[in-house]
């Protein structure tokens, strides 16, 4: 430490020491996002993209769009309690799933059933919460998908903790956590990103900025230049990407995942996209936004974009296109059929999993319900 004692001279030339030990902890420049969302499709960067990947993304987008439509239809048939559609956001959902290795973990929000399905989860299991027969319809360990999370942003510290734990155990596992633009306002978002940066945890935070938190537009949610700019305040890189450009989202997430795996710490990715449907089937979007805005975004549709690129480069022929559609229809048909069967429920499950070992109290309450059910059955 130089200049430990301030120099005290008479008049003018007085020059005390700088505050001891102060230096920027990180260089902020590389943490700042680009001025505009990064894009691949229709740019030079597209040439470098792996055609097989582009085709896989395309097939998944088509499948995802069909899945969203089918799930929404199921709400009308009373087969789902509620469905928050990701129509228009399929590029983010699909790219998030595809950017991960099998050993990695996905932390979806309540809107991200599609990401879970794209990662391999049975769509019926993915929809259990929204059908209403149980909370989480799958064993999270099977596909390494955390329970769909409803309390906003609360899954983010979980992702950090899991990624940190994996690193402590010596596993090169990455966690990718998804959250909405609205969710970034929650304290848990802040705490999670800070923990991740301090611990250099291998996490990727994907914010789907779809313009709204239910009815609240982004302008009432934040005054930041972009949500990606929040990254610099945690000392991690922020990346801004066109969320309807599946290739771009995949590339940006892929880079972030690789950096995390290599020990480079977390990244915050903001994907700019749009929620084409209402918040859920129960919402009436006409109360807070106009059709023109929706139409503008429909014109920037993730499937159309990718299809344009693939067609332009001669990578997509009619057969392939039809194949994608057929696969999507098959998924929808299977989903329809299985969701139309009433789930077999055991009310006694209410008491089985509250604790590892049932307490006396819960045994008593279970006995009460059992007796009631038996009496009901006899009637």
């Amino acid at each position: 430490m130089k200049n430990q004692s301030p120099v005290m001279e008479q008049r003018g030339s007085y020059r005390p020491s700088p505050p001891p030990a102060w230096k920027p902890r990180t260089d902020p420049a590389p943490l700042l996002p680009d001025a505009r969302p990064y894009r691949v499709l229709g740019t030079q960067a597209a040439a470098k993209a792996d055609p097989a990947l582009l085709l896989e993304l395309y097939e998944q987008l088509v499948r995802g769009r069909r899945y969203n439509a089918q799930a929404t239809a199921l709400t009308r048939q009373g087969r789902l309690a509620v469905y928050p559609s990701s129509t228009g956001q399929e590029a983010c959902e699909v790219a998030a799933a595809l950017a991960l290795e099998e050993r990695d973990w996905l932390f979806p929000s309540y809107r991200d059933t599609l990401a879970a399905v794209a990662r391999g989860l049975d769509p019926v299991q993915a929809l259990t919460l929204l059908r209403g027969d149980w909370h989480t319809g799958y064993d999270p360990h099977e596909h390494r998908i955390a329970p769909l999370c409803t309390p906003l942003a609360t899954q983010l510290p979980h992702a950090v903790g899991l990624a940190h734990a994996a690193r402590l155990k010596g596993d090169d596992v990455v966690a990718l956590a998804m959250v909405g633009d609205g969710g970034t306002s929650e304290g848990d978002f802040h705490e999670a990103l800070n923990f991740a940066a301090v611990w250099k945890a291998p996490v990727v935070f994907l914010v789907q900025n779809n313009g709204f938190a239910i009815s609240v537009p982004l302008a009432k949610q934040t005054a930041a230049p972009s949500l990606a700019h929040k990254a610099v305040g945690y000392g991690m890189p922020g990346r801004l990407v066109d969320g309807n450009d599946a290739a771009a989202v995949h590339e940006v997430l892929g880079e972030a995942v690789r950096r995390a795996r290599a020990g480079g710490g977390p990244t915050l990715v903001e994907a700019v996209t749009y929620r084409i449907e209402a918040h859920t089937n129960a919402d009436d979007a006409t109360r807070y936004r106009g059709d023109t805005e929706v139409e503008t975004w429909r014109a920037h549709d993730p499937i159309t974009l990718l299809e344009g690129e693939l067609t332009g480069r001669g990578l997509l022929d009619d057969a392939r296109r039809q194949g994608a559609r057929d696969a999507a229809e098959a998924l929808a048909a299977d989903l329809r059929e299985r969701m139309n069967q009433d789930p077999v429920l055991d009310p006694m499950d209410l008491f089985t999993h509250v604790y590892a070992e049932q307490t006396t109290q819960l045994r008593e309450q279970a006995a009460q319900l059992r007796a009631e059910l038996e009496a009901e059955a006899e009637r």
């Binding site: 209403g132 929650e186 304290g187 239910i214 789930p343 429920l345 309450q365 319900l369």
Partner: protein, 341 residues
């Protein structure tokens, strides 16, 4: 002002829903007092996910009915600051479980600021919380967390069961110089009774229970969403030869010992009914204090019919969890009647 169930007083009275009454109470409060400010997630343009604030932003402007960023601690914390400057914030928590992030602000500040400052800085904040189940909501959308609020000195805890009370109690809560957690039984939002939204409406004082139905066999002590269930149970009980009295607490804090104990001393038997979990739930306090005060009048222990001690079930199973008529009658049957073993 009433201490027995409100009855339609004019023939012009048309059915109105609880949602309408709440909305009218907010509108009248905003109109009556420029310091009243409504705030929360989606309360402005959308009018709230339950439409309770519908039209208020349009009528009073976005400064009086404000869509906030999505952060419950921030909402309540900002409301504290606004109240410090003399405003009367009315905060909406979108669902019961989404009030949890605001607990520190609630417990450490909202409930304590008046006491902390020896009365110099009261916080007239109303926190509206749609609570309870029975609407087919998925996880986190059907919690009943009144036990937490009751255990926090410094808060009033109020919950209406009728359309008229929804209006009267919400107006009183907003007018209160103390913070009020105003619990709205969401499955009663669309229930209607004969309340006239155009008649001059009554502001109900906070802290008074009401006897909704008289009877001499036993007292059902209840509140909010369980009031209609208890009234139904009382009707059904007549077949078994029991005349059940139904007390609607309306306010959990302050607790109206007089009305409750008066009833229990007359009937000698009591069952507390609520949706919230039983263990450490509101019914435990109610049973304990009624027993302390009415011990020698009791023919049987005060029983509790409550939700099970489990996380709130998924929609398809919630009917097994919610206290219904049968479970209430079963408890009544266990009140050690003459001739029981």
């Amino acid at each position: 002002m009433t201490t027995v169930a409100d009855k339609p007083s004019t023939t012009a009275v048309k059915p109105a829903s609880m949602a309408q009454a709440l909305q009218r109470a907010l509108r009248d409060s905003l109109a009556a007092d420029p310091s009243v400010h409504v705030m929360g997630e989606d309360v402005g343009t959308l009018g709230g996910v339950f439409r309770i604030t519908d039209g208020l932003a349009q009528e009073f402007g976005e400064d009086r009915c404000t869509d906030t960023p999505l952060a419950e601690a921030g909402i309540l914390g900002a409301a504290v600051g606004m109240a410090m400057y003399g405003l009367r914030p009315v905060v909406e928590m979108q669902f019961d479980a989404f009030a949890y992030p605001a607990f520190e602000q609630l417990i450490s500040h909202v409930a304590r600021m008046r006491n902390r400052t020896k009365g110099a800085m009261p916080l007239p904040i109303t926190i509206r919380v749609p609570y309870g189940g029975g609407i087919g909501g998925v996880e986190h959308h059907s919690d009943s967390s009144e036990a937490y609020y009751m255990a926090t000195p410094g808060l009033h805890v109020v919950t209406p069961a009728t359309v008229a009370d929804a209006y009267g109690l919400l107006r009183a809560s907003i007018a209160s110089d103390d913070p009020v957690v105003f619990l709205e039984p969401k499955r009663l939002y669309w229930s209607k009774d004969s309340w006239n939204p155009h008649a001059p409406a009554t502001v109900e004082p906070i802290g008074r229970a009401v006897v909704r139905r008289t009877g001499r066999s036993a007292t059902l002590i209840t509140y909010g969403p369980s009031v209609p269930v208890c009234l139904e149970a009382a009707e059904a009980a007549r077949e078994e030869g029991w005349e059940l009295e139904v007390v609607d607490l309306r306010s959990l804090v302050p607790f109206d010992d007089a009305t409750v104990c008066d009833s229990v001393r007359r009937t000698g038997r009591a069952v507390v009914v609520h949706e919230s979990g039983g263990f450490g739930g509101p019914g435990s306090e109610i049973a304990a204090r009624v027993t302390e005060r009415c011990f020698h009048h009791l023919e049987a222990p005060v029983l509790r019919v409550a939700g099970f001690d489990i996380p709130y079930p998924p929609p398809m199973l919630e009917r097994h969890h919610l206290p219904g008529v049968d479970r209430i009658l079963d408890a009544v049957a266990r009140l050690q009647w003459e001739g029981d073993s």
